[in-house]
Point group: C2
Amino acid sequence: MSKSNHPFCYEYARPAVSVDCVTFGLDEDGLKVLLIERKLEPFAGCWALPGGFVEMHESLETAAKRELEEETGLKVEYLEQLFTFGDVQRDPRDRVITVAYFALVKLTDHAVEAASDARQAVWFPVDETPDLAFDHDQILQVGFERLRNKIRYQPIGFDLLPKKFTLRQLQQLYEHLLRRPLDKRNFRKRILEMGILQELDEVEQGVAHRAARLYRFHERQYNQLVKQGFNFEI
Amino acid sequence: MSKSNHPFCYEYARPAVSVDCVTFGLDEDGLKVLLIERKLEPFAGCWALPGGFVEMHESLETAAKRELEEETGLKVEYLEQLFTFGDVQRDPRDRVITVAYFALVKLTDHAVEAASDARQAVWFPVDETPDLAFDHDQILQVGFERLRNKIRYQPIGFDLLPKKFTLRQLQQLYEHLLRRPLDKRNFRKRILEMGILQELDEVEQGVAHRAARLYRFHERQYNQLVKQGFNFEI
DNA sequence: CTTTCTTAGTGTAAATGTAACACTAAGTTT
DNA sequence: AAACTTAGTGTTACATTTACACTAAGAAAG
């Protein structure tokens, strides 16, 4: 690599910088993560997290959104930085440092087109993922841990569930991520007391038993409580 | 910047990658953060976090430890990744992405030589820091928030206090970081019940009143409890 | 249309955990 | 010896959390 020609003391070779996205979604089967099939070497034919190299004119977060959309067709509004992986040998070609990002999407509402966008992007059940390229298995695991920790103190259920959902759906998501059963009455009491659910005048459709009431996330109320330092621990 | 000549599809210009360290210490006056005075442009003469560019053969964490030692003389064994800052304009010279690290050191035990190592490294009180170079004010703030959050659920007090300390010292550290007074009896009860303190047969020296018993951190016990998923919340 | 099945929806009491609180003990200084 | 400063110690009221079981509603099957 040549020396740069601007007045800059850093004249060594530079690592490349990439971004990778760990994107979770939820459908009837459970929790899913979005993967792509690599077309190029190294790891051609292998599954990997969507991602790519950061360009000079864009911030890390912008790069992550751009790569996610380019590779999977999925547009997300909110991404969170996860961790930066910089082991020397994590990419066999060259030194590549990657900044991993974390996203949650409502799979049921819209994001099905992502996978069907003629791209090789597939939602895999989180506990049935194939071996991934590079150190992406490790990155995915860090992402999954983040998800499980996050649900303890932030009401992220609403980012994964459809806009309208039942308390049962919400509880089952919590139970799955916390890996323990929750008492129905206590759960409902707590979540309703938080005051971030808006009760709708609708019930779920197409079930072979008594239909449950639908709720939606009361975002305005939530933002206000956040400002007041309210604790959303479950 | 020239194209690389290895078989690698990434042929654009690359951002530079640096590391920066937010290092906290504690002395009689309170909480301190370690800063250096820059000798080179940009921001020559300005205070900044110790840090520098990542070399091709070293991991991010290794780079952070190396830079910290080179610039301040301080050797740390444990560093934690804080956040990666990648705004396009954060460095006026060039595109530089920086991975920030977070360290805690026992100032009272040894680390005084760091500052006196003929280097321009100074421990500043955390709430009397000068304006810093680049976006280092922002990085410092993120580091400080991390510290304040961390103390809620991890017994990091022991990383900041001297090896032997009194319960009063420990409580005052908690009070300072949590920004609220704690009840002496409840605090002692809780911290002792955790079983990670070893009571010594010594008392503090040179105080003009009844001397308090000294304790030390029982690291082995702590590690065992961590494995069992014990909760160290205060 | 009656029965059966499945999930929705609701309150209370016991147990546990948290927070509030004040005095005696020990050592130093005057 | 008196005064000052911090060390060290338990109990009670209060709040929170957990455990727990029945009726209601609607759909499906007979």
